[in-house]
Symmetry: D2
Subunit: 459 residues, 4 copies
């Protein structure tokens, strides 16, 4: 076992079980690129402020780049006693460039360094997530346009409620993912704050220049308080919450796809390429991707609970507990990205059975509300209209016929205000066409919305 | 049992256990003010669009105001079969104004109505929470100004790390609560969207005017998709997350106050008015408020889990599960508000023991980093300086003396670069004064920050 | 404001906001019966040990009973400054019997008193939950017996897998609820431990007799360590976990009922008495009870998170945070009890559509596995048999016919081992009848299991 | 890409992104030993029931053992298209022994196979956890015995409450870990149920012998219902809950150790071998292990939430979501095992500072309750005694002296019942010695308990 960089005051070496238990390099090595990026900016600043020489700076930067290339290329060997990615890189740097490597850590601590690394990393990941959300929205918009004529039953309580356009259904998800984008953008503002220079917790007495580092690393803001800078993990919790919300939205969409894939519904068929079979039942074709995304929602919820629980009641400032922030964060990043990606691809491989959907929309008395609204337009108070149509439905159930099969005479038995024009109003097309209120499902409203969204597609 | 407003097609009355199980009026009555506000705006719009007459509108509005006054004054009787606040008010309205009451529900559903109520309610609560955060920040700023001279040990891992100003510590929390404000403001943008007119899920065929309702209720935006409008609870989850983050910040502050209140630390004394005693131990004076806030953090986490779990995998659009959104939301609102309020009051009743804090800062070799930075400023690589000072600390531990008790001769035994000027550098005041990096704990930096924040106090 | 019972060393009265914030009497008054029960046992023991006189004991016991009757009858007034149920009762006792009331708290603390109250309370609630589970199981058994002939499609991935008996499906839930009973019984062993006498945390110097109190209160065990006794809340977390598992099981059953209630499935019809309607759509009949139980599962999960989070990292022994244990516990108790009760009632009001289920079982090639097992029984390796039948299914899909419509000639085109006896094997009845492996769905196996369970119905 | 074992009915190959997204082999390969063990038992049973030949059985068993050895030795190559550990092993088996490999999957499905694997795996892990708990308890008992004379202040609300023995404190944890053992043993009963033979969900038509498999694999019970067998994950959730409770207990112990390690308390010193240093502050020695265990508690809570959320509302029977059960389970297993192991080791490297603890116990008026109990023993009602001693403490605070410094005369100014014998009663030793109630902290009580536990050490 090698001597630790912090070993000066210690008489005994670290117990090997402790070394394994406390190490984080097996997961935080993922931050190597951002660690090196941050260290290069730090070294350049140190040289500008004459804390190290230009020669030392050049050696450090070259060494760091070499290490970066080695890690990238798989040529770098992490060691059991490396503790974390920061120490692994510093150790390797000293091996390559000698004593000058020991100058890199001047004016900083691992406390502010890891805060910087995670913020740099997360900024990149947010950019990726935003792109994936945009791609999915584009796919939804394209599909909505294609299915602008498709009518399906809208459900509440899983019971047929009113006929809606499939395009309208798809655009409901468009709205959700737009809100998700907004949340990630808001989160990014709070991620995009430069913590380096907070050092251990109090700032440093060396003449560093934090603004220069921020500028080089393209941070629009600096942390204003060094104690807060090293103990703040709000931004990570906020990211996981935003990811949890994306997953929740996906889980709802998946739930519908799974139900629509049942033999009983048969509203969609997911391509063979996006389903899998059974090891025992030869006929099976399962919507595994949708099920897994629904299931993976749970793990992101777990990640959120893990991080929030971690942070509760921690005394100021940095505590080693904080090392446990990274695995839930990384897991949430990976899960939300892979789920968004595979889901968007799957949407393009779902075949909507327009005929079955249309037929479904005709069942369940889904235009009963139209009958009530008809009466209202004739001056009947809504509550009375509702009750009249309710008894009408009870009558149809008994006679086992749909509303559209009722004669005018039958209808008038229930209310005198029914006139000949009611007959056309109970068809699903009429029902859809009628719902022209802003944000409603009428084809003209939905088509207009599609056009609008296409125009703003930049966002 | 009275006939239900939706009872037309039902042959059997609701089972009484079911009625009790499904009722929400015992908790959603809290929304009565917003329900009435929304209904008045709705009635006015219906009249403007000639869906109801001016006379009906006036009767409805007068009736609603009377009901509002009755509920306010405790004269309103909720009934077991009222189901929810919407039905309770509609029932009472019809009792007061007769059949015209049955016209109020025209062109809307409880699905969009409850979405409106909750958004109106939450908008008000966010305004309250923002005020409470501002009040707490003001109290912190005031205290920081008062304690600008107080030095205490800064901790990492609960071990003395470096001396810091108490003002700097307090401003770290100022930063956290500022971020919390930002999150509530971002959340408010997504709350502030008008859903009424989405009706059950598809919009309505009646000629309503959603923009007019939005304008009257001061909503800057309309929901763009009726299916999304009735099934979206993102905004409630986002609020609870923001509340959970506030509670997490408070819990950390409380943890420190609890530890500082121990006999061993004795850094603070919380006023008798903000502590309580023991039923058995006569000497006890317990920091109960701080403990309870720490504990209550857990319940807001529980609220967040409850709501997110509720939403996972719900098929579109409205499902009765959504009724369970309100209790966790209300609980989070109540908890974050009462905690912020009592905490801000308590901060004004905490007496910081400046002498004990100052003495504490001198222990634990808290200026060892200054010794290392001293060597760095003389050209010693940081890693070497760290190791040298580490062995120095080991020496002091063995000799049982503080760094400040070392002679120059002793120091030079460890490194030749130590000169006479090191002696003054190891005092805690020097250490604090040295940390002038942006965001650091030096008095001049902190005082400047206080001045800046006082100037922007509007925010 | 009245002087507090612990106010001796305090110079200032409690701040009124603090009083409201720290009070628990508005929720812990639910424990009044158990608090009085415990106090009576305590007073009797004090008298037996001559710590109080027989006269004092009699006055105390009579006073406590009077208070109990008052609370029961609604004649008791809780006061804002009562803090908690223990203090409310002690205050009232002293009002009734004078100074002797001040002797009741001898040799105990609120720390061990509340631990006792909650354990007594929970023991009763566990008994109730066990009864509700037994009642639900009985209902399932009865229904299974009635539906022993009903065949429905068994699903995996929501895709038709193999035909099963409805009775078999119902007994799957029987197993789950049996495991739930086991968990509550295990939990009860850990609840059933008598903590009184631990006093504040260290035991007491007074000559109390803990075993006598345990005996009177029917506790089979005493807590062995006074520090553990006052800080242990494991049993409450364990109860909530067991409740969460019950809710999870119910949520799964409800999910199926909701899907089976769709127009597309129409496998069940839930009675009008157990469904509700829509405020806008006259035709709606919604499975609200099932949806709400599914939704309420989330709140019990939230309760579990709240309590576990509360307990994490609490220093020994009692901390005021622990006051927050009761609301999640009470909520879990109420939720699991009302859900079990209403669900069991609902099961009796579900009409299973045997014809639709039977027809459903015939779809989706649900006997494909039987074809494969047929080939296996003729010596074909399972993997080959699986592949053969897979291509057969693809053929049927193309020809749009079910497996049962294939001629022997067609079958033999896929594999020579198909003989005439295959034809009968592909009917759903044959498939069910074949699955005779232990625990399988064959009617004879299921009927035997029902008989067995009826015999052991005591449990 | 190779053809899938279930590919018969599929016209298109699986999309490669889908293949990566749905694969589980990268984590479920951990089950290889148990998968092979189960398969060998299954093959033997198939041969006994003549479903395969003895020769096939021998080939299968030999092949499986070879594969087991290869995986163990690192010679096995998992492939991207292996899906899961079951398919990877079946694929390799067929490569080694040819077509007979395709017979192994006869009469089972991956649904029951994975249920078996996880149960076998968890049974082993529970045995390990029980051993680790026993080891930790042994260490606590040994330490308690060594520290039987050590007095420290007992705390409630982190305020000094009453003096207690360190041994008593340690045995409080002994009780907690004993309860944890009980929970794992209870959980094991529900894990120890043999699911194989449930096949996909309905059992099988082949003449398998489930009891024989159970016997060979040492399962005391068989699953009674095939549908339940493949969808039940209660046992995994229960394990994670039990692990969460262990972690919660450890987190509380760690919290105390962290606080006791502060410079202000200095009650313990953790060995250099179990602490680490700072990259910037040369003097730091941090209780990292304790902090990390406290932090890791959060991840197990996250695992519990992930699994419970996963299971909520899943329709019967197997759904692909269930694949997500394994990572939280594995994580909980790893975390609880490593935490228990390193914590037990650390306890042996903690040096308790007896002198500081003793001195601490004398502060904070920790024997005030003794003064009150003294008065009670003289017939003063407890509430009066409490108030008297409360004012006495206020007097001491004002005079800045401890209770033990009061003269009898001073004491009698507060209550006439104070006699000369009170003076000895206020020393911490007297206080401890007095608390002889069952489970109390008196040395004789604690020593007796230690002796008792040593005698039952088998458990």
């Amino acid at each position: 076992m090698k001597e630790k960089a912090w070993g000066g005051r210690f008489a005994l070496p670290t117990d090997s079980e402790v070394e394994a238990f406390t190490a984080s390099v097996h997961f935080d090595k993922r931050l190597y690129k951002h660690d090196i990026l941050g260290s290069i900016a730090h070294a350049r600043m140190l040289a500008r402020r004459k804390i190290i020489s230009a020669k030392e700076r050049d050696a450090i930067c070259a060494g760091l780049k070499e290490i970066g290339a080695d890690i990238e290329g798989g040529a770098f060997t992490f060691r059991a006693d490396d503790e974390d990615i920061h120490m692994a890189i510093e150790r390797a740097l000293t091996e390559i460039i000698g004593a000058a490597g020991g100058k890199l850590h001047t004016g900083r601590s691992r406390n502010d360094q890891v805060a910087l690394d995670v913020r740099l990393y997360l900024r990149d990941e947010i950019a990726d997530v935003l792109k994936l959300l945009a791609r999915l929205k584009k796919m939804l918009l394209k599909t909505a346009k294609k299915e602008i004529e498709t009518i399906l039953p809208g459900y509440t309580h899983m019971q047929k409620a009113q006929p809606v356009l499939l395009a309208h259904y798809l655009l409901a998800y468009y709205e959700m993912f737009s809100r998700d984008q907004g949340r990630f953008e808001d989160c990014r503002r709070r991620v995009n704050v430069m913590p380096l220079g907070a050092a251990a917790l109090a700032g440093t007495g060396l003449p560093i220049d934090r603004k220069a580092v921020a500028k080089e690393l393209k941070f629009p803001a600096l942390s204003e308080n060094s104690m807060d800078a090293v103990s703040d993990r709000d931004f990570a919790a906020e990211f996981i919450f935003a990811a949890a919300t994306v997953m929740m939205h996906l889980s709802r969409f998946c739930e519908d796809l799974i139900i629509w894939s049942t033999d009983e519904f048969s509203y969609v068929e997911i391509s063979d390429a996006f389903t899998t079979g059974s090891s025992i039942m030869p006929q099976k074709k399962n919507p595994d991707v949708a099920e897994l995304i629904r299931g993976k929602t749970s793990r992101v919820y777990g990640d959120l609970v893990a991080l929030l629980t971690l942070l509760k009641g921690l005394p100021m400032t940095y505590n080693r507990d904080l090392q446990e922030d990274k695995e839930p964060l990384f897991d949430a990043v990976d899960t939300v990205k892979s789920s968004l990606s595979v889901f968007a691809a799957m949407v393009g491989h779902v075949k909507f059975d327009r005929r079955r959907m249309r037929a479904g929309a005709e069942g369940g008395f889904s235009t009963a509300t139209d009958a009530a609204e008809y009466l209202v337009s004739k001056g009947v108070p809504f509550r009375e209209a509702h009750r009249v149509v309710g008894t009408l439905v009870a009558y149809c159930l008994e006679k086992n016929k749909p509303l559209t099969a009722l004669s005018l005479e039958e209808l008038r038995r229930f209310h005198k205000k029914f006139d000949a024009d009611i007959l056309g109003r109970l068809a699903v097309e009429s029902s859809v066409a009628a719902r022209k209120s802003y944000g409603g499902t009428a084809t003209e409203v939905v088509a207009k919305r599609i056009a609008e969204l296409e125009k703003n597609a930049g966002r």
